[in-house]
């Protein structure tokens, strides 16, 4: 059994949504980085602080129901809605607001944007 701690993530400058509380569990332990260039620093920080397991979505995959949080670097159209649509808590490092074909799924309860590492705080 892993030991996990909760973090709170508020919207960064110009961002939208949240705050989200992330608490991984043994069944939902993955911090999913769907970003260019490997595990994003925001995803790494969430993993470090919560005890969750970081992984790179461009290299491997896990089932959605095992994802504690998805970290994306979406410019506002596609990825921004995919994970909220699947009810996965979603952190966008870019300061986007609900838009694009999947905008209807993006809610403050599921999504927060404009997040930098310092916006991830102990709950």
């Amino acid at each position: 059994m892993g030991e996990y701690k909760a973090v709170t993530i508020a919207a960064g400058k110009g961002g939208w949504g949240g705050p989200l509380t992330i608490l991984p569990t043994d069944k939902k332990k993955y911090v999913y980085s769907v970003t260019g260039g490997g595990i994003h620093p925001v995803a790494q920080r969430i993993a470090d602080m919560t005890g969750g397991v970081p992984f790179d979505g461009f290299k491997s995959s896990v089932p959605f129901d095992e994802i504690a949080v998805a970290v994306i670097d979406c410019g506002g159209t596609a990825r921004v809605g995919v994970y909220p649509m699947k009810k996965v808590l979603t952190v966008d490092i870019h300061a986007t607001s609900p838009a694009g074909p999947l905008a209807q799924f993006i809610t403050k309860e599921l999504f927060v944007s404009g997040v930098k590492p310092d916006d991830v705080k102990e709950a």
Binding site: F58, G75, G76, T77, A78, P101
Partner: protein, 130 residues
């Protein structure tokens, strides 16, 4: 085939390897979403997956985006669109006629009907001139 036009330089070229089921719906909304082949599976449904053959840089205003023989002039390119394309093969191509990107990932071209894309089609970005 190499581009034959004078003063035209291909700065990006790729070949389509898969087309998701929802791509035609997105196309009807004036949007084509592209990703590299290693994009996670949940993105495949609405994406055109493509394999890069050549990349020097991402599109900037004034460039031409060519999909097979259809040509579109780039009007705007959002602040993260270059990183998206070069790192992830990701492009949000929007036929919205806007000269400023509404979203940081957008690459805008004129208002037009975007083509039906199929496996084997070619995407090129052509620099206007040198």
């Amino acid at each position: 085939m190499a581009d034959q036009q004078n003063n035209a330089k291909v700065v990006y070229q790729s070949t389509v390897t898969a087309v998701g089921e929802l791509v035609s719906d997105f196309r009807d909304q004036g949007l084509l979403v592209w990703f590299g082949e290693n994009a996670p599976s949940e993105l495949h449904e609405f994406s055109i997956l493509h394999k890069v053959e050549h990349q020097e840089r991402a599109p900037i205003p004034g460039d031409v985006i060519e999909i097979n023989s259809d040509r579109f002039t780039v009007l705007a390119a959002g602040s993260v669109s270059s990183d998206n394309l070069l790192n992830l093969g990701h492009l949000d191509l929007k036929a919205n006629g806007l000269t400023e990107a509404e979203l940081p990932g957008d690459v805008n071209v004129e208002v037009c009907e975007l083509p039906m894309v199929k496996v084997g089609d070619t995407l090129k970005v052509i620099a206007a001139s040198n």
